[in-house]
Amino acid sequence: MSVLVGDDTRVVVQGITGGEGGFHAEQMIEYGTNVVAGAVPGKGGQEVHGVPVYDTVHEAARREDADASVVFVPPAFAADAMFEALDSPIDLVVAITEGVPTQDMAKVKKRLSEVDTRLIGPNCPGIITPGEAKLGILPGNIFSSGNVGLVSRSGTLTYQVVDNLTSRGIGQTTAIGIGGDPIIGTTFVDALELFEADEETEAIVMCGEIGGEDEEEAANYIAQYMDTPVAGFIAGRTAPPGKRMGHAGAIVSGSGTGTAESKIDALNDAGVPVGDTPEQVTDYVEEYL
């Protein structure tokens, strides 16, 4: 088992005729993902990497029976692309685009609360179920199939932790990059809920970072509802207040909220050990299995 994506996921790539979209569509296909269509306004009828392109997501979903989409659309048009996918028969939307205006995302988030569709991202590396499907830009070769679920706000930090796990022979059920923006579709709590319900996931790694209160909310959720053991990592312990550390969401505010300390304390209180180094996180996971 796995969560959200697998062998049977049928994927539309929004923006498949662009540089990024085209390159990663090819990588996804090579990995074995079932990419069944592209959707680009005005490019209907073309074919990219053997995949038919349609003008609208609705048409792509209807004709190819697609149930997931990956958004590689530039920031100015990304919210519109997400709305289009949310209003179509698609069940899962993965938005890779970095730099989507925050107010656009507030409107998308509002729409999201009114539909059954799930959104992952934006500004995220995507989601992968090793050996079955990847939707996004994650380097497939470092992942291996197994029993650890992983959820993270950062792309390359995910790769670091996965590489540690894989090199010690610990495989993954599914890895979800939820993205580094202030407003995102799937939160830590949402992802934890999915892993808790998944029979094959025996342990979970959660990689957070400074900014916002999602990690604290996740800690509450873990304490109240979860049996599956979780190991944590929080990036940004040394970040000074008021400075944005790369990600739009990664900032410790002037009033002291969003600090690494508050997140680590909350997780520890929920019984979640937090590694001082990525390697230590793998140690904790090894003990769980």
Partner: protein, 381 residues
């Protein structure tokens, strides 16, 4: 992007929010001309992107020409928390009986904007929020509809604003929300919103920060951008297009991806070192970006050693290695020891290309950081 007070006041005034009469001045003579026009008392206010200007001596009230000259002389050219003051706003003093707070920001937890009103204006609103959270009335707004007029009234009445000015304050809040939305602001704020003895309201200060990611659709606001950096290196990083934050330590850090670079900083600290900077070269970096990044970190005189950590997803190890070679081969002697760790996409090819006469190589993140910390210690002693 932050707007200066005078820029934000222009935007607010254009939208119909009352602001005091004012002039912008860059010299003492201009200040003296300005006070003649706005009259006494006059506030002389430093226009720099720092908070707490008043406490730091950047705002003074002049009651006559002599004081105006003295204060103008003090403030123009002064160093305010690392920024040099090169212009001041000269503004007619407001005879107030009450100071209020109104603002709109994004509540990221809720994913919705929130409008805020408080009777306790004129002081740091974050301090009010901590001391007495109930003193701030909050009204969440559905971003799809915008703020309904009743919501502005509700926030104002909930905050206990005097009935005589409640209608005017609600109207300012409505305008403020509309501006927040129209200009893609992250925050707009008036603190204090002054109430005069005659029952008029005036925006005595103005804050407006705009979402950088939305600037592409606001060319008028982009023109207002003033690149003020705390130091030369942050300016350089802006030119190169790096996410860069300068810190005070001696271990230079270069990596890809915000989370992994932050982790590298944390590890430097964990292993007893002190990070000199945060530098994210971003995804898919080519050789030239790598060269620029090394140039930046080498030109930081605090740096004694460098750790270069790349986990390639869309970034390719061979490109990174090429960039490192190019950057280092131009020196007769390597300025500072560089420890490199390459993993992920094309890391093997990268390791073959990398000139190991010029750099030290480690295969794990932990080992690379420890080695760089040790090298920095050796150089420093």
């Amino acid at each position: 992007m932050k707007l200066h007070e005078y820029q934000a006041k222009d935007v607010f005034a254009d939208a119909g929010i009352p602001v005091p009469e004012s002039r912008l001045a860059t010299t003492v003579d201009e200040v003296l001309d300005a006070v003649e026009e706005v009259g006494f008392p006059a506030a002389i206010k430093a226009q720099v992107h720092v908070g707490g200007r008043g406490k730091a001596g950047g705002i003074k009230i002049a009651t006559d020409e002599e004081e105006a000259r003295e204060y103008a002389d003090d403030i123009l050219g002064m160093d305010l928390k690392g920024f040099t003051v090169d212009k001041v706003l000269v503004e007619a003093g407001v005879d107030f009986v009450d100071e209020l707070y109104v603002g709109v920001t994004m509540d990221r937890g809720e994913g919705e904007p929130v409008a805020m009103v408080s009777e306790q204006g004129g002081v740091d609103i974050e301090a009010v929020a901590e001391r007495d959270p109930d003193a701030i009335a909050r009204e969440h707004v559905d971003p799809a509809f915008g703020m309904h007029p009743y919501q502005a009234r509700k926030a104002v009445y909930d905050a206990g604003i005097d009935r005589d000015v409640a209608g005017d304050v609600a109207s300012v809040l409505t305008t403020l929300y509309d501006l927040w939305e129209e200009k893609d602001a992250s925050d707009v704020e008036i603190n204090p919103l002054m109430v005069t003895a005659e029952g008029e309201i005036v925006a005595a200060d103005a804050v407006m920060n705009v979402d950088d990611d939305a600037l592409f659709r606001h060319p008028d606001l982009t023109e207002l951008r003033e690149e003020t950096y705390e130091d030369e290196l942050e300016r350089k990083a802006g030119e190169y297009g790096f996410d860069y934050v300068r810190l005070s330590g001696n271990v230079g850090i270069i990596g890809n991806g915000a989370g992994l670079v932050m982790t590298t900083l944390d590890l430097v600290d964990y292993y007893g070192g002190s990070p000199a900077n945060f530098l994210d070269i971003g995804g898919g970096a080519k050789a030239e970006r790598v060269t620029n990044a090394l140039d930046m970190v080498f030109s930081d005189e605090n740096v004694d050693a460098v750790v270069f950590n790349i986990f390639g997803g869309i970034t390719r190890g061979d490109e990174v290695a090429k960039g490192i070679n190019e950057a280092l081969e131009q020196f007769d002697e390597i300025p500072k020891p560089v420890v490199v760790r390459l993993a992920g996409t094309n890391a093997g090819e990268g390791m073959e290309i990398l000139n190991t006469d010029l750099v030290e190589v480690e295969s794990t993140l932990e080992d690379a950081v420890q080695r760089a910390v040790a090298r920095a210690e050796e150089v420093a002693t």
